[in-house]
């Protein structure tokens, strides 16, 4: 009846379980037309949830650009795929440039994957807009001439939240316990956090590095309690944030939970009454300006839910890229780089315009700290955040919260 051995069964079973852990590819391809643009974002794994928003955002932008006549009169052919992990991201980026003929690449949320795509961009001399990766190192010691960085870097997130925490007297003389995502992004964020603690008279009572696939945080929460900190600080990413926030609420610790990284999608996934504390954000759909409102309306109409900050950044990036190409009438890398290095200003749906800083290619823009709205005041389940004042304040130059030339070791080879 059964002609196979248990050993074979176990082996094949293990192989399949391993394969299933790699995640299922979700491939989305546009029809072939004229100007090809490659888009990579994690659609599976711990960043997959927010990655799905990014894909919706970039698709909306491509559609709108095509409807209004395309780029230089040509339609955009958007090739958008799951970047899966750093190795796959790099392979796919190379393929998009080499075989699909993409003239420019954009996307990514994972700093580790973004780093590998940056190397592909440099090797092939194609421009890459790293839209959602936040590690300081990408625009610092790993920077290169072909890569531009749209999201706020870790240092800015720390500064945004840190300023708000300082105002509440939650920093000076306080003991922090940090929980950190164990990959380049988290390590980088911890470094920025330590710098901030040192500069503002806080101490680090303990830190735990946590693998990105961890779903149960209880052993770490027990260690937090052993350390008895004044403030617990979350330096995690993607699904980790949601899991931590849920389980932190479950245990009901008295120590306030704050964080130096959060995407709105993670907050929405956390569930009613679970999230508290002060966090940073780069954009929120309730921002009050005409461009932002128009985008939110268009997105909500198309997809039945408001855009998350990664949908916004993807949308804005493709739009400003199309605008730039239309202005210079070229998709050549050198022409594009020269254009952006002029620090041309773009409307990025915020009170102040943004621009790419010429020497490290960072999109300089406002950031916002936020706290969580009490349940009774929420208009709908998306209306969770109360934005604080934009950082830096209106009177100060935007660059104030960004690392200076002496702090940021970026040297670009010509």
């Amino acid at each position: 009846m059964f002609s196979y051995s248990r050993r074979t069964l176990l082996k094949t079973g293990a192989a399949f379980a391993g394969a299933s852990a790699l995640g299922f590819p979700a491939i989305v391809r546009a029809q072939a037309t004229r100007i090809k643009i490659g888009h990579l974002v994690p659609l599976t794994g711990f960043l997959g949830a927010i990655g799905s928003y990014a894909q919706l955002g970039v698709k909306l932008a491509a559609e709108e650009i095509n409807q209004s006549g395309g780029i230089m009169g040509k339609q955009i052919d958007l090739i958008s795929e799951d970047s899966v992990n750093p190795a796959t991201a790099s392979t796919k980026a190379q393929r998009m440039i080499e075989q699909d003929g993409a003239v420019v690449l954009l996307g990514e949320i994972s700093s580790a994957s973004s780093l590998t795509i940056m190397q592909v961009a440099e090797r092939n001399k194609k421009v890459f807009f790293s839209t959602g990766a936040r590690s300081d190192a990408l625009r610092g010691k790993n920077c290169n001439r072909y890569s531009f960085h749209c999201d706020i870097p870790n240092t800015v997130m720390v500064n945004a939240v840190g300023t708000a925490l300082n105002q509440k007297g939650m920093v000076k003389g306080k003991k922090f316990f940090t929980l950190t995502a164990d990959y380049i992004f988290g390590h980088d964020l911890l470094k920025a956090a330590k710098t901030f603690f040192d500069a503002n008279g806080a101490t680090l009572a303990g830190d735990e590095l946590i693998a990105t696939d961890v779903t149960d945080f209880s052993p770490y929460l027990l260690k937090v309690r052993q350390a008895k900190p004044d403030v617990v600080c979350c330096n995690l990413a993607g699904n980790q944030v949601t899991n931590l926030v849920k389980q932190y609420a479950e245990f009901g610790f008295p120590y306030p939970l704050v964080g130096f990284n959060l995407n709105t999608g993670d907050a929405w996934a956390a569930g009613e009454g679970n999230l508290s504390g002060t966090w940073p954000t780069v954009w929120y759909h309730t921002l009050d300006n005409p461009a932002s409102k128009a985008f939110v309306a268009a997105f909500t109409q198309k997809y039945g839910k408001p855009p998350e900050n990664h949908a916004w950044i993807e949308y804005v990036t493709l739009k400003l890229l199309a605008q730039a190409i239309n202005e210079i009438k070229s998709t050549e890398s050198d022409a594009l780089i020269a254009h952006f290095e002029k620090q041309t200003e773009f409307d990025i749906m915020k009170a102040r315009k943004g621009y790419f800083r010429s020497w490290d290619h960072q999109l300089v823009q406002e950031a916002y700290p936020f706290t969580v709205k009490p349940k009774g005041e929420m208009k709908d389940k998306w209306d969770m955040l109360v934005l604080g004042d934009a950082v830096p304040v209106a009177a100060e130059p935007l660059e104030k919260i960004y690392p200076t030339k002496t702090q940021n070791p970026c040297e670009m080879k010509a």
């Binding site: 009846m1 379980a17 299933s20 927010i50 209880s218 260690k223 609420a249």
Partner: protein, 291 residues
Amino acid sequence: MQFAFLLEQVVNGLVLGGYYLLIALGLSLIFSVGGVVNLAHGAFFALGAYVSVEITKYLGFGSAVVLSPIAVAMLGILFERYILRRFYTADPILSLLVTFGLAMVAEQAIRIIWGAPPISAAIPPALRGSVFLGDFLFSRYRLLILAVVIGVLVAVWLLLHKTSFGRVVRAGIQRPEMVAALGIRLQPYMTAIVMLGVGMAALAGAFFAPITIVQPAMGADIITVAFVVVVIGGLGSFWGVVIAALLVGVVRGITIHFEPAAGEASMYVLMFVVLLVRPRGLLGERIEKFE
């Protein structure tokens, strides 16, 4: 003090092990009786979570944790009747392929129905917070889960060891030909086992929706752990799976206490060591059809 902290991790690990157990026990039963590694088991866990979040919206959490596993168990009947049944005697690679494919279909179906972004779920306010037993800290909610797991465990043990149903199932694991010779068809029993197995997975999903992220790939994430537990525990052994689940939970807790970075690797090291010493798993019985 150090010792107390360690003990706290051990106890917490036991609770976590209970959660692994709910998923692994069903996987092990289906494997032992039908000879099929159900790689779609995680999908039922995910469905249990999603369905319970939906039911919670209308009927509250209490009803959700009861109704969701029942609904998913009904789905299990269809799964067994129309898919699994064809593969009991086939080459195992076919059943692996079909259940692996089904896991993908289920994950994409969840994506289509509920969307790719995670959906939110929260613990009922009354069950929040932690309780102190002496110097030990427990999450109130996890204590509830522990109680449910113990209840389920006792019920399944009684079912397998004290009823005529259980006797046939246990005989079916060891000597399917003999059972057939006695004129008993194993197929209806297999339907019941699959119902029970996927129902338990759904129960785990329902209870864990409020404390972990509810997203389409949650099933794929859990199946690996469940598989490791089954392998460590050994086939055909009820207590083997129980001990393995608790062991995996405790070893993970202790590892995180001393060497946090190795936390997630610990269970694979444990599996490696156990298989070196006992290739059939901790309490795995010699089952002729698998040798």
